[in-house]
């Protein structure tokens, strides 16, 4: 292109001036902290005490730390619980709001509202809804089921937090699916209908294969987010992570261990490295899914 070579001739300093603010911020608050996390994970640094090199001691300690295994278990369970729901439910929702019937834009927007709200607001709304005396239990009692201790049992708490994550994420993934569905050729549906396929059959044989790459993308995106869960569980189970800390997630453990004036920065950094490694593996799946989509 002729333009490329002509635009090339200019003062050599200005491009760097344009990029400088971005590079400085990213360098100082993303790349430097990343390097320092890795370095700190091999030290016994604390918030107020500069650390000494301790080799792999932090990682060896991890292996014998029950809380670490609890956190890893809960964060992994979170993926297992949340991802299938977030792959399937928003797709069904997108199909529901895809047809342009009167008022549908209102419904689309309304379904997106939980995405806009802060996770703190969402968490507190559900803490009150699922309270021992809250709305959900009032309704359960009114229909004769009786009250359920959603926020007092270790497993029910984790399940409730997962439900909140799904509830907040539905609208976001619905919009992603809507874009994908718009690209499904109508002829496929018509051909299937002519062949006598019912709605369920058409969903499985036409819709699902057509949005398959989007489903993979949603699975990868939501599993990365699920593994890093913090706020929902922190708000619903409390800062100490529910009964005996059994609902602690990995990121909650990082936050609890590494912050404050007595924070064990070295050990928390080792925990962070684990978070980092797992999320990067999950994120590589995103990139692969993306690439598959392009080809």
């Amino acid at each position: 292109m002729a333009g490329v070579s002509r635009v090339r001739r200019q003062l050599p300093t200005s491009p760097w001036l344009f990029a400088a603010p971005g590079l400085i911020v990213i360098g100082a608050f993303v790349l430097y902290p990343f390097v320092s996390t890795v370095v700190n994970s091999f030290t016994d640094r604390r918030t107020l005490i500069p650390g000494r090199f301790v080799g792999l001691a932090n990682f060896r300690e991890l292996l014998h730390d029950d809380m670490f295994w609890t956190g890893l278990r809960n964060s992994t369970l979170y993926i297992v619980g949340v991802v299938p729901a977030l792959v399937i439910l928003p797709l069904l929702l997108a199909l529901l709001v895809q047809k342009n019937i009167p008022g549908i834009t209102f419904f689309r927007s309304a379904f997106y509202t939980p995405v806009v709200a802060s996770i703190v607001v969402v968490g507190l709304i559900w803490v009150w809804l699922l309270d021992e005396r809250g709305l959900v239990n009032s309704l359960l009692e009114a229909v004769g089921i009786g009250r359920v201790g959603f926020l007092s049992d270790q497993w029910l708490l984790l399940l409730s937090a997962m439900a909140v994550t799904v509830w907040k994420g539905l609208g976001y993934y619905m919009i992603i699916y809507l874009a994908a569905l718009a690209n499904v050729p109508r002829e496929l549906h018509e051909a299937a209908a002519v062949d006598g396929a019912g709605p369920v059959r058409r969903f499985l044989t036409v819709t699902v294969p057509a949005v398959r790459s989007t489903m993979v993308l949603v699975a990868a995106l939501s599993s990365v987010a699920a593994f890093k869960v913090f706020s929902e569980v922190y708000l619903m189970a409390g800062p100490s992570g529910g009964p005996a800390g059994e609902d602690t997630t990995l990121v909650m453990l990082v936050q609890r261990t590494g912050t404050g004036l007595t924070g064990r920065v070295g050990y928390a950094s080792a925990l962070s490295v684990v978070v980092f490694v797992v999320t990067v593996v999950l994120m590589l799946l995103v990139l692969r899914a993306d690439r598959r989509e392009e080809t």
Partner: protein, 300 residues
């Protein structure tokens, strides 16, 4: 590309009797329509209902039973009493102001920083451009939760922990936003800028007068997501702020919940204050919110 625009039909004239057609002009049967609306209303109750319940709780006076079974959905004597109480209990308006400051600052820094850097990555030719691009791509892959402790120690080293500047800085120029702006600039035709170059326009003039006005839409997306991200953020301000005077709304709410958990009306009033501005913003600027999802998730 807006998802909604894409899905929206060519307006088919709705004529004769009561006839509803789908996006291809085919008629939708009545029972299917009824089923669809029933499902839509059920999902509506599930997604918006909790917000309304919170609003209703916040408007119920001290004498009204909020625990009744079956529940009463509408307050019998709506009152703003709880909003007065929450302002007496915590400095909720100061917190709102802090959130507003943080969110506004984040909007300005993200728009300016990512537009400049995005332009440099998309349009300017210089040695090291590939490396610069790679820096932003790598930064986007680093999960914030994995480096948050080091961000905290970095802030301490800079003496900025427990300040609002410290809250803003790590997210002040998002790598994702830079790449979004880069893509927007790359999609502009070269010819216009070329013509300006021939007319003797400097880099700065080409950027400010020609390129930037053409990517306003993407800039709006960056602004909205920067605002929403900063206003809603929880983990980072929780770590970096320790002084209750400096709290943002989300941290203030967490404090309110932790200290007055048994006063549901009070917490409800606090959450309504925190969420109302964003819902208003969303109601006004919906299409940019949806557009952001499309650009950020699918193409980013």
């Amino acid at each position: 590309m807006s998802v909604l625009e894409k899905v929206r039909p060519r307006q088919e004239p709705v004529v004769r009797e009561l006839r509803v057609t789908d996006e291809h002009g085919r008629r939708i049967r009545v029972w299917e329509l009824v089923l669809r609306y029933a499902l839509l209303l059920a999902v509506l109750a599930l997604t918006v209902g909790p917000f309304l319940w919170q609003l209703s709780t916040s408007l119920k006076g001290p004498t009204e039973d909020i625990f009744s079974s079956p529940p009463t959905f509408l307050p019998s004597h709506p009152t703003l009493h709880n909003y007065e109480r929450v302002a007496h209990t915590i400095p909720v308006w100061d917190y709102a102001l802090n959130s507003l400051k943080v969110a506004s600052a984040s909007v300005v820094t993200n728009c300016v920083g990512s537009a400049l850097a995005g332009y440099a990555l998309a349009r300017l030719r210089y040695r090291g451009r590939g490396v610069a691009t790679l820096v932003f791509v790598l930064a986007m892959l680093v999960p914030v939760e994995g480096i948050i402790i080091a961000q905290f120690t970095t802030m301490r080293e800079l003496g900025l922990n427990n300040t609002l500047i410290g809250v803003v800085l790590p997210g002040s120029i998002g790598a994702m936003n830079v790449l979004l702006m880069r893509n927007a600039f790359r999609n502009l035709p070269y010819e216009i800028e070329e013509a300006a170059y021939v007319d003797g326009a400097t880099v700065w003039q080409r950027f400010w007068r020609i390129a930037l006005p053409s990517v306003k839409g993407t800039l709006a997306v960056v602004a909205i997501f920067a605002f929403m991200g900063a206003w809603d953020d929880f983990l980072w301000p929780l770590i970096v702020l320790s002084d209750p005077d400096k709290f943002t709304l989300t941290i203030g709410l967490n404090y309110l919940h932790g200290t007055f958990a048994n006063d549901e009306r009070l917490v409800a009033a606090g959450t309504v204050i925190a969420v109302a501005p964003l819902i208003a913003l969303f109601a006004c600027l919906q299409r940019y919110f949806f557009r952001g999802v499309g650009e950020g998730a699918v193409k980013g």
